[in-house]
C-alpha cells in the first residue's frame, strides 16, 4: 500500500515537473502539442526527469550501502570523501586529457572514488572507539583534504570556476545526448537489490558475517565498487548532490528498519521523490530562473537531518 502511494506520488510529481518551465506546456493541450513543445519535452524535460529519478535512487542507495559497510548511520558519499574524490578524478582527467569525452572522465572519477573509499575504510578500521560522530568527522576531514588538492591543481590550471560548478548539483543543463552516462548506475542498483540480504548481514559486523559463512571482504569490495560507480556516473552528469545519501536511508531506517530486502525499494522511491520535489522547488522559487538543486537539497536535507539527530538521540544508545 505504502509502495503504491509512493509510486503514485512519483508519477504525479514527474508529470508536474514535465509541465513547468519557461516554455508553457499545459496539460489540457497535451494532445495537440506543436513541434516546438514536443522537442522541448523530448530533448530537455524528459531527460531531466529521468536523470532526477536515477540520481535520487542511486545516491540514496549508495548512502545506505555505505552505512551498512561502516556500521555507521552518518556515513554517506558526502561524509566519506567520495564526492570530493570523484571531483578530483574529473579534474585530473580534464587536465591530463583536455579533449576527452565524459566516459573517460567518469572512469577517472570512478578510479579515484574507489581508492578514496579504500583509504577511508582503512581509517575506519584504525579507529579504536568507533563513535557514531567521529567516523563521519574523519570522512569530512578526508574529503576536505581531497578538495584542497583539487583546488590546488585547478588554481594552477586556471579552472577553479569550472571545477566549482561540478560540485554543485544542477539538472538545468541536462539535455538529450549529454546525460545518458547516468544509466551506468542502474545495473549496480540492481546488484544491490540482488545482494540485499548479504548487505544486511554485513551490517551486523565482520564477526557475525564470518560466523554466518559470508565472505565479508568480498561483499564489502562489491559494495564499494557499486557505490563508487554510481556516485561517479551521477557526478559526471548532474554534479554533486549532497545529503541525499545521508537523510533518505536514515528516514527509511527509522520507519521501516534495516532489512534491506524489504527497505531497498522504499529507499529508492523516497530518494527519487525527494529529489523531484527539490527540483520543482528549485525551479519555481525564483521563476523563470532556477537555483541549483544542490542548494535546495542542502537546505531542506540539512533541516531534516538536524531533526533526525535530535530524534535519534532519544533511542540510540
Amino acid at each position: 500500500m505504502t509502495r503504491f502511494i509512493l509510486i503514485s506520488c512519483i508519477v504525479v510529481c514527474s508529470i508536474f515537473s514535465l509541465l513547468i518551465g519557461v516554455k508553457d506546456i499545459s496539460v489540457f493541450n497535451i494532445l495537440k502539442l506543436g513541434q516546438e513543445e514536443v522537442m522541448i519535452l523530448f530533448v530537455s524535460r524528459i531527460p531531466r526527469i529521468i536523470s532526477l529519478i536515477v540520481a535520487g535512487v542511486g545516491m540514496s542507495i549508495s548512502g545506505m550501502i555505505m552505512q551498512q559497510i561502516t556500521l555507521n548511520k552518518f556515513v554517506s558519499p558526502t561524509t566519506a570523501g567520495s564526492l570530493d574524490a570523484a571531483k578530483l578524478g574529473i579534474l585530473i582527467a580534464t587536465i591530463l586529457l583536455p579533449n576527452t569525452d565524459s566516459l573517460y572522465k567518469m572512469l577517472f572519477a570512478f578510479a579515484f572514488t574507489v581508492i578514496a573509499s579504500l583509504i577511508f575504510m582503512r581509517f575506519v578500521n584504525r579507529i579504536k572507539k568507533k563513535s557514531i560522530i567521529f567516523v563521519p568527522l574523519v570522512g569530512i576531514m578526508f574529503g576536505s583534504v581531497l578538495s584542497a588538492i583539487s583546488t590546488f591543481f585547478a588554481y594552477k590550471n586556471n579552472i577553479v570556476q569550472n571545477m566549482e560548478t561540478w560540485l554543485i548539483g544542477d539538472f538545468s543543463s541536462i539535455l538529450k545526448g549529454n546525460y545518458e552516462l547516468i544509466y551506468v548506475s542502474l545495473p549496480f542498483v540492481l546488484i544491490t537489490y540482488l545482494y540485499a540480504n548479504k548487505f544486511t548481514v554485513i551490517g551486523l559486523g565482520e564477526d557475525f558475517s564470518t560466523s554466518l559463512g559470508l565472505n565479508y571482504n568480498r561483499i564489502v569490495a562489491l559494495g564499494l565498487v557499486c557505490v563508487s560507480l554510481t556516485v561517479s556516473s551521477i557526478m559526471i552528469t548532474a554534479g554533486a548532490i549532497p545529503f541525499l545519501g545521508l537523510i533518505i536511508p536514515n528516514i527509511v531506517s527509522f520507519i521501516f528498519g534495516d532489512n534491506l530486502k524489504k527497505t531497498l525499494p522504499y529507499t529508492a522511491m523516497i530518494g527519487a521523490l525527494f529529489l523531484i520535489l527539490c527540483d520543482i522547488i528549485s525551479r519555481l522559487i525564483i521563476f523563470p530562473y532556477e537555483i541549483p538543486i544542490g542548494l535546495t537539497v542542502g537546505v531542506i536535507g540539512g533541516a531534516i537531518f538536524l531533526l533526525l539527530i535530535l530524534k535519534r538521540g532519544r533511542y540510540a544508545t
Partner: protein
C-alpha cells in the same frame, strides 16, 4: 570433538596464546574460566576462524578447519562474541531469520527454515516481542535475541563469549538451563566463557582454566572446582561448599 593443537598467537611482542593444546569433548558443556586478558576470547575467536592464528591447527572431529570452506563451517560451528557494536535496526524475527543464512545463502527461507526460526524464538521465550527492533531492547533481551539467532543457525558446535554479560540473575539461569538442554537433548558441543565461577560450577561438564596464554588446568567440573586449583588460577582464596549436590564457591571476603 574440537581439538586444538599447538595454537600460538601474538600481537606484536605480546604473546596472547602460547602453544595451547586442548580437546573439548563432544556433546558437553565446557567452560573457559580465567582472569581478564588471559586469552580466552582470542582462543574462541581462533577456533571460529574470526582471527588468524600464528601457529597450530584446529580440528573439528578429524577435519582441519583451515581445509574447510567458510560456508560449510558456518553449518557446523557458530560463535557469539561479547561485544556487539552494530546498531542495525532489525526486528528479533528478522535477526533470527539471518541465523539461517548459511543454509539459504540469502535466498528465501523455506518451510523448514521458518519452523526452525519459530522454534528458536520459542526456545528463548521471545514470541511476544519478536516484532520489536533489537536496538530498542534492553541488554538482556538483546542478548537473548542474538542467542536465538545462534540457535537458529543450528550448528553442532556453539561457542559463546560471555553470554551472561548484561543479563540479570533470572535470565542468566534461564540461559544456562537452555544451554544444558541443548547439550543434553540435541547433543550440541558448547564452549562458553563465563566469569561467574558458580555458573561454571553448576552447569558445565568440563572446565578449562586459562592463565598466561596457556590452558593451566583441564578436567571435569569436580576436578577443577578445588580450592588449590582455583587459588592457582585466580590468586585469591576460595571456600567451597556443597549445596544440593553442587559446589558453590565463596570468594567475596
Amino acid at each position: 570433538m574440537v581439538s586444538l593443537k599447538n595454537i600460538s598467537k601474538s600481537y606484536g611482542d605480546k604473546r596472547i596464546l602460547d602453544d595451547v593444546s586442548v580437546d573439548f569433548p563432544r556433546g558437553k558443556i565446557t567452560s573457559l574460566i580465567g582472569g581478564n586478558g588471559t586469552g580466552k576470547s582470542t582462543l574462541l575467536s581462533i577456533v571460529s576462524r574470526l582471527i588468524p592464528k600464528d601457529k597450530g591447527d584446529v580440528f573439528i572431529i578429524d577435519e582441519n578447519i583451515t581445509n574447510l570452506d567458510s560456508k560449510e563451517l558456518a553449518k557446523k560451528l557458530s560463535i557469539l562474541k561479547q561485544s556487539n557494536h552494530s546498531s542495525i535496526r532489525l526486528t528479533i524475527r528478522e535477526l533470527v531469520c539471518f541465523g539461517r543464512f548459511p543454509y539459504t545463502r540469502g535466498k528465501r527461507l523455506c518451510n523448514q527454515d521458518c519452523r526452525i526460526v519459530r522454534e528458536a524464538i520459542e526456545y528463548m521465550s521471545l514470541e511476544e516481542i519478536q516484532d520489536s527492533y533489537i536496538d530498542e531492547l534492553s541488554g538482556g533481551q538483546k542478548q537473548r535475541a542474538f542467542l536465538a539467532m545462534v540457535i537458529a543457525q543450528d550448528t553442532d558446535y556453539i561457542l559463546l563469549d560471555e553470554p551472561l554479560n548484561n543479563l540479570d540473575m533470572k535470565h542468566s539461569v534461564q540461559i544456562m538451563k537452555i544451554l544444558r538442554k541443548l547439550a543434553k537433548d540435541l547433543n550440541k558441543t558448547i564452549i562458553i566463557i563465563v566469569h561467574d565461577i558458580n555458573f561454571a560450577s553448576c552447569y558445565s561438564d568440563y572446565i578449562a582454566t586459562v592463565k598466561n596464554g596457556k590452558i593451566s588446568h583441564f578436567g571435569t567440573t569436580d576436578e577443577i572446582i578445588q580450592t588449590d586449583v582455583l587459588k592457582d588460577v585466580f590468586d585469591i582464596d576460595f571456600e567451597i561448599m556443597q549445596v544440593n549436590g553442587n559446589k558453590i564457591c565463596l570468594y567475596f571476603v
